[in-house]
Each structure stands twice: as structure tokens, then as C-alpha cells.
Amino acid sequence: MNKPVTNVASASADLSRTPAASNNVTDNTITPAGGKSMRDFWQWMFSPERRGAMLVAPALIMLFLMNIFPLMWSFGLSFFHYKASSIRPPRFAGFYYYEKVLTDPVVWERLQTTAQIVALSVLLQMVIGFAMALMFEKKFPFRRELLMLVLTPMMLSFVAVGVFFKLFYEPTFGILSQGYAYFFGEPLTLLATKWGAIWAIVIADAWMWSPFVMLLVLAGLVSVPDYLYEAAAVDRASWWRRFKTVTFPYVRGLLLLALLFRTIETFKIFDVVYIITAGGPGTSTETIAVYVYKVAFQFFKTSQSSALSYILLFVVIVLTNLYLYFVNRRNEEI
């Protein structure tokens, strides 16, 4: 509460001094010390060489308060015995929770489930995305409108998509199950088995994010210069050869970026799983994010979830670093 007051005081001091300053060159010597140092401070803060720092300071402060500091706090907590649901003060635990988490077979199982979903979903996204990009590679009437239609899924909310697909998978009246029953005679109970449930999640996630891969691949496809295609036509190159030597090199970089980006994002998969299967049947589709959620907010094992968080954090930092490395390399090529 003190700062604004001194501020106002120095501002008013400034005002009262202005006419004198224009008359009297030696004004500086008779200014009250407080006002002068205040003004110096502001001048120092807003001097040209500090402009960059001043511009980014609010953002960095906010990120520190809302992201970095909380993360440091939970990092601290991971070394203590602490449950958010009990009033007992934290006790020092050392590396106990890290040891516990790293040797816990359940954690490895959840990581395995996550890896299965990531692998299947990202693979499916790449294939479907690539195929759709090839479809939109050429110019045709209503191309833009149809493109919008296909791109919509990735703008939808995870919760909405989860709800849709839960309705489609509903065994008796879900449209997918009914279609299945029409052809195979028996109802589709996708959510009853482990692999069925995993596919249920993978289909929903891949449906939502294939357009993302398509968007990136398309950016590569439209950047292929025309003269290369003309040269290939002159050489009577086969479709496959043209694809391999002309098209693919322009897409390769973006395909890699899409792969990394989608891997990072799918690794975090939570909402869709939470809505469609809630980790079930049993715990067979519990991804690592859902597991952390349960440990933290259902069992309130705060320290354990914090230690687990830090292991995930490490994975994401490595992947993000890799992603940015390839982004920069591509920017240099362009």
C-alpha cells in the first residue's frame, strides 16, 4: 500500500517544480532527495536498453505466479509425506516417492496403456490425414467449403467429442452398434473389453485430430513448385516415382513435425478417456493423465502425484525440445 502514495507525492512534486525547472538550471540541487531518486528510478526502468525487459516483464511475472511457482511448490511437495485431504503437517520423505513411483508396476502399466493409445491413434491420424491431404491437393469447385467441413472436428471440445462417441458406442441404440448389428447380427459392445475400449478411444481421438495432420501435409503439398511436376511429366515419371522424388521431400519435414506434435498432445490424453470409458473396463484404459488425476484428486496422494508429475514433465520437455529443434531446422531451410 505504500508505493502508490510515494508515487503520487513524487508526481505532485514534479508538477510543482516544472515552472521553476524551466527558469532555473540548478534546480536539481534543490529537489527533495526522495523525488529525485524516484524519478531516477522510473528513468532507469524505462530507459531504452531496458525496453525489452519491461515489455516482457508482465508476462513473465504472470507465468511465474501461475505456472512456474506452483510447479516448484509441487516439486517441493514431492519430497515430503503430504496428503491434501489430511491436516497433518508435511514430513520430509527424501526420494521416497520417486523411488516408489519408478518401481511401481501400476505406473508402468499406465504408461504402457498410454503408449498403446498414442501409437495407434497417431498412426491412424497420419494415414488418414495424409490421404485426405492428397484429396485436397488439387483445385476444384467448393474446395474451400469442403475443407472447412473436414477441418471442423479439431476445433470441437474434447468433452463434446467424447459425448458423441459415447452415444455412438452405446450397445443398443448407438448408431455404430446398430450398423454393426445389421451386418454381423450381434450387438457391438465395444466398451466391454480392454482392446475394444482402447479402439473406442483411438477412433474418437483419431477422428478429431486427423485434420491436424491433413493441414500440415497440405501446407507441404501446396509448396511443391509447379516446374518440378512439369519436369516429372516430361520425364514420364511414374506416379510412385513422382511421389517419392518430387512430392515427398516437401512433405517430409512437416510430417515429422505433425508426428511429434501429435505425440506430445496425445500423450496428455485425458478428457476423451474420462468421458468415454473413465479408465474402464477396470483400469484397462487408464492413461497416465487419468491415473495422475485419480491419485491426486480421488486418493489425495498429493506427494505421489507430484513425483509422478515430474516424470511426465521430463518426458514432455524432451519431446518439446525435439519438436522445436525440427521447427527451427525447417525455418532455416525455407
Binding site: 531504452p48 525496453r51 525489452g52 515489455l55 516482457v56 508482465p58 508476462a59 513473465l60 504472470m62 507465468l63 505466479l65 501461475m66 505456472n67 506452483p70 510447479l71 511448490w73 509441487s74 484429396m135 485436397f136 488439387k138 483445385k139 476444384f140 469447385p141 474451400r144 472447412m148 467441413l149 473436414v150 477441418l151 471442423t152 472436428p153 476445433m155 470441437l156 471440445s157 474434447f158 468433452v159 459425448v163 458423441f164 452415444l167 441404440f173 445389421y182 493441414l215 500440415l216 501446407a219 501446396v222 512437416l254 513435425l257 500423450f267 485425458f270 468421458i275 493423465a289 495422475v292 488425476y293 491426486a296 498429493t302 502425484s305 507430484s306 511426465l312 514432455v316 518439446t320 522445436l324
Partner: protein
């Protein structure tokens, strides 16, 4: 990325391609279409076997999103969804506005006055966005509980501002980087102040970019679930959370009602996707890939 300048280079394909892409596009879009159709069905039509493609549309579901008839009398009781829609709009708009102001300044700084270790700052900023939200939410949940901020508007708004900040910074930086510095230098030579350069030279050129960033951030916030699930109270609940709770209803799921909620929830998303078409690539990759 598929603006007019680019499309001129595309090779031509005729109406046959339109037909083919149209068929695939419709199949791909079918899940959304089916939900919208379900929203207009009566309860029996929604659960019909075999599924009904032709039916008499009704608006009952949309009405019962907001009001239901009380069991004693005939007066309508609010279901609270009016409030939840208001919350979603209010919280997203405030959070994004805050993030955009702070983020644009920071992006300008990062782009024009690089600090020592500029790339490191930018990397850390992007990483905070790439982290699984569940990691960030555990300590924030404790922090909010300690300061009594959980369940309040300003807590959620502050969190959403921080959530959108990395995105705003990266997006706006990518736009600032594309501006030619010549105009700014010319303005400086003509005696414009630094503030003038920012407000009168840079920002007017970036109106479209600013709008794209804002709208994208709005959608990301509008769709956000986990933070809202853990940090909103009954008065500040947003639509995704209310939607998830509707699934867990004890009287069995009313799919028509749920479909109506989703349809209402998606209307702004459709509009926005259409408006953003030229900036989608940049937006979905957080400004890391421009073209």
C-alpha cells in the same frame, strides 16, 4: 495457408473431385451431423432402432436445456444452463482479454528487443503450454484452496489468462516477426516515439493477426475442461463441466437433451472455424509453424 495467393499454384481438378471429396467430407462430418439431428428428435425418436434419418423435428430439447417443469406445479424451473453458458462466455472473454494485452506486449518485446537468452525464455513459455494440464493443476488447486480462490470468478479468469498467455505470445510473435522493420524505422526517422511505433505502426498492421489470436484463444478456453472441472464452483461452472455432469445423471442419460446442449455449445465453434480458415495452421501449432 490456403489463401488466394497460394491456390493459384494448385493444379486443376474438375467437378468429379468435388463429388469425391464431398462424399468423403460428408462421411467424415457425419458424427457432428448426427448429433445435431439427435438434438431435434423426440426422446423415442432418439432411441429408435433402427435409427431414424427422417423424423419430425422438435425444439423441445432446446427448451429443456434451460427450463424443466417442476414436479409439484407447472411453473418452469431454470436448469442453470443459462448461467453456465454465461459463465463460459464471461470467463473465456475476460481471461483471453487479459492474456492478449500482456501477451502482445511481451511478443513485441521478444520480437523487437531480444533479451539475453531470448530463445530460452520462449522455450520455457512454450513448455508451460505443452505440459499435461494435470501436472499444473495439482499445485494450483492447493494454492487456490489456500487463498480461497477456488470457485471464484477471478481465480478461474486468472488461470485462463495464464493458460492463454503462452499461446498469445507465440502467436503474436510469429505475426510481429513477419512485419518488415523498415516501416517502423521510417517512422522513427520521422520522429515518432517508441510508443507511437507500437500503437500507430505495428498494431494497425496486425489487426487480422490480433483477431485470429483472440478468437483462437477464445475457442481453446471455451473448450477447456480439466481446469474448469477442478476449480469452478456451482456458481461459476462452465458448459463442458455441466455437460460432463449431465452424462452422470441418475435417471439415465437423456441423449436428446445432451445433443441439444452440444449443438448450442458448438454454434460459436463453427462460426469461428470459418472465420479463422487462413490462420488455422498457425493457430493449431501455437504459432510455431506459419506455412
Amino acid at each position: 495457408m490456403f489463401g488466394k495467393r497460394k491456390e493459384r499454384g494448385l493444379r486443376e481438378a474438375g467437378w468429379g473431385q468435388t463429388l469425391f471429396a464431398g462424399a468423403i467430407g460428408l462421411i467424415y462430418f457425419f458424427p457432428v451431423l448426427w448429433i445435431i439431428m439427435t438434438a431435434f428428435k423426440t426422446r423415442t425418436d432418439a432411441l429408435a432402432t433402427p435409427p431414424k434419418f427422417i423424423f419430425t423435428p422438435t425444439l423441445d430439447n432446446f427448451v429443456s436445456v434451460f427450463w424443466r417443469v417442476s414436479q409439484q406445479g407447472n411453473e418452469a424451473i431454470s436448469t442453470g444452463f443459462g448461467l453456465y453458458f454465461f459463465n463460459s462466455v464471461f470467463v473465456a472473454a475476460s481471461g483471453v482479454l487479459l492474456a492478449l494485452i500482456i501477451g502482445t506486449l511481451a511478443a513485441y518485446g521478444f520480437s523487437r528487443y531480444p533479451l539475453k537468452g531470448n530463445d530460452t525464455y520462449l522455450f520455457v513459455i512454450l513448455t508451460t503450454r505443452m505440459l499435461p494440464p494435470i501436472i499444473v493443476i495439482i499445485p494450483i488447486f492447493l494454492m487456490f484452496r489456500l487463498t480461497g480462490m477456488s470457485g471464484s470468478y477471478y481465480g478461474v479468469i486468472l488461470l485462463y489468462a495464464a493458460f492463454n498467455l503462452p499461446f498469445s505470445i507465440w502467436m503474436m510473435k510469429s505475426f510481429f516477426d513477419e512485419l518488415s522493420g523498415d516501416v517502423e524505422d521510417a517512422a522513427r526517422l520521422d520522429g515518432s516515439s517508441e510508443r507511437g511505433v507500437f500503437f500507430r505502426i505495428c498494431l494497425p498492421q496486425l489487426k487480422a493477426g490480433l483477431a485470429a489470436t483472440a478468437v483462437f484463444a477464445l475457442i481453446l478456453t471455451w473448450n477447456e475442461f480439466l481446469f474448469a472441472l477442478l476449480l469452478t464452483g456451482s456458481d461459476t461452472r462452465t458448459v463442458p463441466v455441466a455437460m460432463a455432469r449431465t452424462i452422470g445423471g441418475e435417471l439415465g442419460v437423456d441423449w436428446g437433451l445432451l445433443a441439444a446442449i452440444i449443438t448450442l455449445f458448438l454454434i460459436p465453434v463453427f462460426g469461428v472455424t470459418y472465420l479463422l480458415q487462413n490462420h488455422l495452421l498457425r493457430g493449431v501449432t501455437f504459432g510455431t509453424i506459419k506455412k
